[in-house]
Structure formats: structure tokens, C-alpha cells
Chain length 322, copies 2
Amino acid sequence: MSGIHDFIQSNLPRIESCLNETVADLNPLVKPVVSHILEAGGKRLRPMLCLLTARALGYEKDDIYPLAAALELIHSATLLHDDVLDQAELRRGKITAHLVFGVNEAVLAGDALLARASEMVTAYESLPLMRSVSRAIYWTAAGEIQEIQQLKNPSLTVDNYLEIVEGKTGYLLQTCCQSGAIVAGASEVLERSARLFGLNLGIAFQLVDDALDYSMSPTSTGKPKGGDLREGKLTLPLIFFLQQLETRKQEELLSKMKNRDLASHEQQAIIQAMEDLDLSQKTRAESERYLQIAREALHNFPNSKERLLLGEVLEYIKDRQD
Amino acid sequence: MSGIHDFIQSNLPRIESCLNETVADLNPLVKPVVSHILEAGGKRLRPMLCLLTARALGYEKDDIYPLAAALELIHSATLLHDDVLDQAELRRGKITAHLVFGVNEAVLAGDALLARASEMVTAYESLPLMRSVSRAIYWTAAGEIQEIQQLKNPSLTVDNYLEIVEGKTGYLLQTCCQSGAIVAGASEVLERSARLFGLNLGIAFQLVDDALDYSMSPTSTGKPKGGDLREGKLTLPLIFFLQQLETRKQEELLSKMKNRDLASHEQQAIIQAMEDLDLSQKTRAESERYLQIAREALHNFPNSKERLLLGEVLEYIKDRQD
């Protein structure tokens, strides 16, 4: 997988410098909050997908970097808000921003980032681009909302959950690929393929993430195994677990999760039972369906080095262990 | 003032129906939160200013209503977030949304509204319009941020405060008038006049609002007199009050406000002292400077019925008692 590694290495400095320039220009109160969330790192998956799609579809100019950076900023803004809403304590091993700087600061930094990112996108003077980004922001919020709503509903099905994932993770990744296609002036058919590729890659990415939460060692996630269970998050591995319980036990577990009333030994027992049932693996198997749709969408792209790299991204998601 | 009253009466149903259509289309979890904040009412000042400016500059088509409604939705989104951040309990006599529906719901409803409003603006296919709206959202958040920041700074000057007001209230009202001008295809000079008019009207509006907080009867505001003092908000009347205290007393009061440690009898004594010093009136006098700049900007508009009505809005702001 050195191809994608080389691509990231050679493009990351440009992305980081766009991010740093934007941060430097923010209000002094927001600046440290935004720096904190950006320094937590992550894979810069969103900018890389925008860049790779644009290059794969023949766009060679360098003025695409601020757009790629804007997409990362939108992602960071949603992380700031999510961590407040989830009352999360750690993100990638670092104390979350709202605990370091305060809830008000984290909420407003998210608002300011969303607005600033929209402004950066406006500079491209493309209405389809603006529309795609506004919609992605709306659907990301709507996905989070649905997630909260579903926690109050004990009969969450796999389909409901996939709809939530489509919203909270899929649409922004769809927009990352679509925006690369728009900037490249791609045909309608290719733009549609880029959308399909991004959306399905996004769903698969989230499902693998959910699987990893129950299978990784604490050192690599920066948080203990089963963090989603502790935070009361209903993800696919846990839905599978609930499905094989009898109704009374289902209701008992959901009610304890909702009230954050699950004792530590109960959590451990559930996590162990899930391991015995191999539910992380079952979740990864589910993600394969979406990876396959993404692979097929990619076939429509013209042959290029970057098309191969986009294919590598899919394999990276499939196999990732951290 | 029947002219402006008639204008509002004849245009309000169209604005309300656009607002209702947008709400109907939102995610079921967000819908009641947004309805709650919209039903708290208010004067729909922002849509009316957009509409009046567009009409004054010769735009006659009815496709402007969704834009006017989008500006009200942006305002509503900022109110939802502000009330969370201020831990406010009442807005216009109604329990605030985060207390009725939950903090998470209120934050996400705000996010979803901002994104949906941006999408509505995108439909006008005008980049200057998009840019103006994105900037207004950014500056509104930045103004709020500065407000929080300044509370930590005991030496807040009148100039610092006016800068905050420019951000948290002025820029969105500037964008309301500017967007009416953009839709009307106004010349650069007229668009600039519309911006100046909106910004200065906005600053004056906020200052009168600050003055009213210390001078109104509880029945008309829906909250007790001096609510800003209780919520730890440093507004212009209180800055005037602080200015005539000796340094030690200033620091004592600010520290008590910051820690929400001001006893009820102390609050009453301060409110009474401020009344004796006529600081509400002094604040209103300060707003007159901005009203005058707005009046002058309005002189550049061509003569029309709506120009007269925009002038009436300024007089309404000057004289308003609730």
C-alpha cells in the first residue's frame, strides 16, 4: 500500500498548510479550540478523497487544496459538536475540546468553523459545489439527530441504523468525492459515480469503525474497548447482540444504557459475549456490501494512477485495524 | 406608523407560510424544537428588512419570500444556540427550547437550521448572496465568542462592546438589507448603502434592546427587569455603571457576576442605582449615532414608498418600548 502512502505524504503538507492558514485567521477564542481538534489528527480522509477524485477525473491545478481543507474543517466542526452531545471524554487519546476549553467555546467554535468552511467553498464560485456542501452539512446534523432519536426507540433495526450512518458519515464523504468531480468539470455520469463511490465508502468506513470499537486494543484507539457501549451508543455490533437476546433482556439492557446505569462488570460481560459471538467480524462482513458498490462505481472512472489509489483506499478501509 | 404596520400585515402571511413549509420538511426530531422557537414570535425584523430593501430598490417578484424566511431561520438558529450557551430560562415569556426538548436537541436543531437556510439561499444561484450569508453566520458566531471572551476581561470598554454588537447583531441585519439589494440587482453604490443601513440599524437595535432590559416592566419582556445582569451579560448600560465605580468595586462586581454569585438584594440595588443614573436613557442616546448613519445611508435610495417605510423602521427602533 505504498502508493496511497506516497500520495498522502506528498499532499499532506499542502493540506496542513491550508488548515493552518485558516486557523490563524480565526477569532482568538476559537483558535485554540480548533487547533486542539485538528491536532488530534486523524487521517485527513476527507481532503484526500476530494483531491484523489479531482485528480482521477483529470483536474491538475493546485487551487483545489483550500476546498479539500474546508471539507476537513466541516468534519472537525461536527466532531466538536458531537463530543459535546455525547459528553465524550477522549478523542484519539486526547481530552475532548469541550472538557479542555468549555462547552460554550466548543459549540461556538463548531458554528464558526462551519460558517468559515462554507465561505471557503463559496470562493470556488460554483453553485453545484455550494449546494452539495450545504446539503452534506444538513444531512450530517440530521443523521446525528436521528441517532439521538433512535436511542429512545428500543426497536432499532439494522436498516434504521444504516440510514443513520448514511446521514452522519456517508453524506459528507459523498460530498468530498462529488466536489472533486465538480471541480474537475466531470460529466454527469462520472459525477454520479463519484457520489456513489463516496457514499458507500463512507458507510463501510463507519461500519468498520463500529467493529473496531469492540475489537481493538486500548492503546491504538486511545480509548478502552467497548467505548460505544459505555457512551450509550447503539452501533451495528450491539444491534446484532441485541437481536439474539430475548425481548425482556433487550429492554433491560437498552434501559440501562439510556440511563447510563450499566455497571462495569456488566459492560465487561457484554463485551466478552460479543467477542465470543464474533460480532465485530459480522459487522465487517456487512461493510463488504458497501465496499463492493464503491468498487463498482470506481470502474466507471477513466483509467489513471489515482483511480488505483482510490481502490487502495477501499482496501485500506476493509483491512484497517486501527 | 400605520404604513409599516400595513406592510407587515400584508407580507407576514407569505413569510410565515415559507417558514412553515421549511419546518414541515425538517427531521421529526428537529421539527418541534424549531416550531417552538419560531412560535416565540418576534417581529420578523430580518425578513421584513430583506423584503423592504428589495422592494425599495425596484424588485417586484414574489420569489424573494424564501430568502427572507431563510434569514429568519438563521436568526432562530443563533437564538437556539445562544440560549443553550447563556443557560437562559425564558425567551419572550416562553420556556427556552433546550429546557423543553434537551440541550442536544437544541444544538442539533440549530445546526440543521443553519445548513437548511444556507441551502435555501443557494437556490437563488447568486454567489455574492451566498458569500454575504456565509460571512454573516461566521461573524455572528464570532461576535458571540467575543462576548464570552470579554466576560473574562474586566476592562471591557465601550468600543470593545460595540465591536461585539457589530458581530452578534449587526452583520446579520447588514446581510438582510444587502441580500435584498443583491436580489434587486442594485448598483454597487446602492448595495453599499443597503449594507451601511442594515449594519447601523442593527447596532442601534441591539443598544435599544440592552437599554430596555433595564427599563421595561416584566410583563412586556416576559422576563424580570435586569435579566442581563442576572445572566452575567455585560451590556452597555452596565458598562456605563461600571465606569463610574472605583476600581475595587468594579472588580468585585465583575467577579460576582462571573461566578453568578450576586445576591438578589445586590442585583436590586444595582438596578435601582442604574435607574437613578438614567443609564438606559444614556444607552438610547448612544444608539442615536448609529440611527443617524442609517438615515444618511437611506438618503441614497431612490424615492419610493418602501424607502419611507425603512425610515419608519428606524423611528420604530428609536422609540420602541417593548
